[in-house]
Symmetry: C2
Subunit: 157 residues, 2 copies
């Protein structure tokens, strides 16, 4: 895949989204950017949002909650960490509290490519194709791409 | 549905299993039987298994792990609690440690029917139809039915 490209694919037969993105940083660095709350708030989501952490206990059996604020509006998200394998894998749940009955099962795999770079593969599984397609129609793609560009800048600095 | 029947349905278009079962007990009682570890070990799974709890912190953001032992063999399971709404709903993850990369997203809804009885609807969503069909082929149905018969006996006693 080309440099800096974020690939977002809707699975044909399962209500799942797969996001693939490569970074010029080691799996350990990209993993840390996903698990250290002080780094996470500097890149996750669009630039116009201010992110704050309610709690972020990133270990197998821990849980998390954060808030994105923008223009006087707040959007909160929460979930639990099913499994965390340092520098390799995070399996977690994810709910946007504006739609509290919707829950996604997410898997983030950090794989080394080209000697020292990282390919991140993030899948998100939900209970129906209607929910999956609503997520894709919500404009999440722009926020995901912009967040990863911010992460590029952080690992380059 | 007829009394004591456990209905297990494989969803047509999504890799999900839905289990439906009614109990002669209130939603509060059936919920408690799922969340109080001292009650849980007395009914969950087949009679031939001895169940022990490693930890069982049944609250939103908590986690759990238990072991089924039978004939010198041990099988362990673990997950995290995404959301717990007392007497109403449990959303959790589930992994059999013998297949540690397989993770299910489970939703247990406790609904009152017929004034004081409970209909339990338990869904289990996995990442592929192959995994879902392997679970159904594993003989889980017998263990689920036997467990619910044990729960019937507990709430009747």
């Amino acid at each position: 895949m080309s440099h800096g490209e974020t690939r977002i694919v809707a699975h044909q037969t399962v209500p799942m989204i797969t996001i693939t993105r490569e970074f010029d940083a080691t799996p350990g660095m990209v993993f840390r950017a996903h698990t250290d709350p002080e780094i996470l708030v500097r890149w996750l989501g669009p630039r116009r949002h201010t992110m704050s952490i309610d709690h972020f206990d990133c270990r197998t059996g821990g849980s998390w909650r954060y808030i994105h604020a923008s223009g006087g509006e707040e959007h909160a998200f929460h979930g639990c960490f099913h499994e965390v394998r340092p520098s390799h894998l995070i399996i977690q749940t994810f709910t946007y509290e504006g739609a509290p009955d919707g829950v996604a099962l997410e898997r983030l795999a950090f794989d080394e490519v080209d000697g020292g770079r990282t390919r991140l593969t993030a899948t998100s599984l939900v209970e129906s194709f209607a929910v999956r397609d609503a997520i894709l129609a919500s404009g999440m793609e722009g926020g995901v791409r912009e967040g990863y560009e911010r992460l590029d800048e952080l690992v380059a600095s």
